[in-house]
């Protein structure tokens, strides 16, 4: 066991400070240390996207980053996207359009999709399929995930227009 490192991160708006071994993976920190169990583990090799979180404005697979690399950064997980009284449009759209079945990929999917829509508020179907290709779903066949993301985009754009 090597010397512990001093880590400071902000997760979903809350500062966290602790000592961790250099080898501690971010997904482990979130799930085991901080009890943030929305991000899941499907592979631990960067392939499935179940662990996707947002770090300083970028989608990141939390299974392949050491927490030490995230020190000083702000992390958003599915838990930080919305709350029961104030759901993110993607959260409602996934339910409305049956964009999930077992739900295991869903937190990573929605977290990734939220980033995608920030980068590209009006994606084509092709852009959605390409932009979501880092997230695997074994249940839905993606068709309804694409539909959910399109619906959320439409809703967010309408809300944006109404606000302007």
């Amino acid at each position: 066991m090597s010397k512990k490192m001093h880590i400071q991160i902000n997760v979903n708006g809350k500062d966290q400070e602790f000592l961790a071994e250099p080898r501690e993976l971010l997904i482990y920190t979130l799930r085991e240390r901080l009890n943030i169990t929305g991000p899941h583990i499907g592979c631990e090799t960067s392939h499935c996207g179940a662990c996707t979180v947002t770090i300083d404005g970028k989608s990141v697979k939390a299974c392949t980053m050491f927490v030490a690399q995230a020190s000083g950064k702000s992390i958003t997980t599915i838990e930080g996207l919305g709350d029961p009284d104030n759901l993110h449009p993607l959260q409602s759209a996934f339910k409305e359009h049956h964009g999930l079945q077992c739900g295991y990929c869903t937190p990573g999917m929605i977290t990734r999709a939220s980033k995608l829509l920030e980068e590209n508020p009006n994606p084509t179907e092709e852009e959605i399929r390409f932009g979501m290709a880092g997230n695997i779903c074994r249940c839905t066949g993606y068709q309804n995930i694409v539909k959910s993301i399109q619906a959320a985009a439409a809703e967010m754009n309408a809300a944006q227009e109404a606000a302007e």
Binding site: T77, H98, T106, A133, R138, G141, Y142
Partner: protein
Amino acid sequence: MKDELDNREERVANLKGMGCSRKRVEDARFTQGKGNYVDDIKLDGMLFGDFVRSPYAHARIKSINTEAALQVPGVLAVLTAADLAPLGLHWMPTLAGDKQMVLADGKVLFQGQEVAFVVAEDRYAAADGIEAVEVEYEELPVIVNPFESLKSDVVLREDLDPKAPGAHGPRKHHNHIFTWEAGDKETTQEVISNAEVVAEESMYYHRTHPCPLETCGCVASMDKVNGKLTLWGTFQAPHAIRTVVSLISGIEEHNIRVISPDIGGGFGNKVGAYPGYVCSVVASIVTGKPVKWIEDRMDNLMTTAFARDYHMTGKISATKEGKITGLHCQVVADHGGFDACADPTKFPAGFMNICTGSYDIPTAYLEVDGVYTNKAPGGVSYRCSFRVTEAVYFIERMIEVLAIKLNMDAAELRRINFIKKEQFPYKAALGWEYDSGDYHTAWDKALKTVDYEGLRKEQAERVEAFKRGETRKIMGIGLSFFTEIVGAGPVKNCDILGLGMFDSCEIRIHPTGSAIARLGTISQGQGHATTFAQILASEIGLPADSITIEEGDTDTAPYGLGTYGSRSTPVAGAATAMAGRKIRAKAQMIAAYLLEVHDNDVEFDVDRFVVKGAPERFKTMKEIAFAAYNQAIPGLEPGLEAVSYYDPPNMTYPFGAYVCVMDIDVDTGVPEIRRFYALDDCGTRINPMIIEGQVHGGLTEALAVALGQEIAYDDMGNVKTGTLMDFFLPTAWEVPNYETDFTVTPSPHHPIGAKGVGESPHVGGVPCFSNAVQDAFRPFGNTHTNMPHDHWRIWRTANELGLHS
């Protein structure tokens, strides 16, 4: 009480019963990251267990030294077979009547086999402990081919008496497991040898894996004070797991509570019992602390529950006009090191004898030989009912091969051989009695929708254009018509470990007119909490939104055999309807009492009982529920509850017609799916939205299997596809949009006529994708190539057919 809606239509809509696309009640927690999967469980003082696994596929274990591992900080214990042997737990029974090592007992039989179990304070310490365990192996000759295995002098299973019969009868060789036959051998051979036309083909249905996004795992917690064991896990059959744990551990069943929390997909992977479960239980007993075991993806792909691996040889005979007269099917089944197939006891090759498919084939014979090799055990039904995927692939390929031989259109060949509507219930040559079907209608609808003739014309033009050098893309039209057999099943012929395959539902109506129902099944994404409430809403007239569905806790749910083989709707769904009808029967008596008429003078209407001929006189189910708890009704017990254990009289036989249109670039080997049309007939439709979702998902898993997904081994028994880098899981980028369609042919023996749908698209999809690839090459002389049709294999086919010169 004043909650009556005036209009009948409104009252029906208010129930959100059968037939409506009710939104899923599960989704709120999943979309907010509040699911409760087994790896989310955290208990005080919980430890983490993980395996030392064999790097060799076949080796003798000369020694295991755990001393250094026990010195690793955080490591509390290391279990080996020697520790489990005094408890008799170093081996465990498999679902197929064989036994399997929990921890390597003297030798290992496949790469990744469990050798020792390290128990530590956390995952990192467990990993350090695994590194420090020293195992000395002596390599033995490796056999990865079942045909070689049957000829080899090498004895894989030294624990078995080579002369003694196995669980399914006599064994022909020390590496042979069973021979299973169905149908009439002599007559079939005679019919085939005297036939006008015979087509023959050998095909290998490769080994693959269900690979749900969540791997298998459990948390075992032995409470020594109260003598109770609680076991949370990714179990598709929690009650069966409880019984198995009791039988092998000696802990009385009432002292074991098995809980399946949210499950991140199953697809057959989570039916079996795995060494990790046993080791976690033992470790919890030894340490007195809860112990968690979670597979990583590599463990999952390498060790728990492969699927398929069937070498199938077929002969199909017909008249010159194309009327099929006989079918002969011979299978060599690679079961790996232990026979751990998850099939009903009397069916060691599952329902492979559905391989006559949707066709009226008068004579047939099937023979399956199970064989041991140095590969992982398993043989589960990956999104299908017990080897039905293999059976449907076999017949749908044989039809295509016969069409080539007859020089006939494959769609027409199917049409003239379909079992006719009026032949149902239809007794098939290999024993099953199909409940209902209308194949011609479904087929005609499918072909018409896709403009089949137009497609064939386009394909012919494309072939010409290709030959003229105007394009490098060829076009394939994949057809498949499948009949599934699901809903195991009648207790008289289906059991697992002696447990009849019935299922159950228990309902309690609360005084204010809401309810809870508990079932013996467990959802892994199918949305049971949504759909079973819909069945009940229609049966008992209370809104689905007022009905909680609970599954997966053996302390509260009635006994059931779990969810796999598309059995939840056919069996537990039937139990739900039957329990609902018991509720309704009592409600009728209560209503009659309240309305002061005779029982027979009231009738059920949507959400109430009305006096016959006087619809203005009624009692709503809500009022009746309250009365059940507040009135002393002569001759009736208070309360409103019911239980039903349903033993289905027969299986159900969903069917469907699929068409895939594909373009293939012969230079890159990349297939492009231009169109996929799927017509499913699953009988009565409970929730169209969920059905459609199941179809999308099943088709995508079919695409994966047909176009690239495999568990491959090298000659040394090394798994070549142990990570998601090599094991193909399609992403949104590779998957097309599907067109879904349906016909409705209710099951005549099911209380609500439903047949089950979750697996149909996989069963029917695999041959459809495969046929599309093969059809593209048919004009260039292709008869059959084996799956998976990955880019390289497609390119190779093109190359072998001379399309690159």
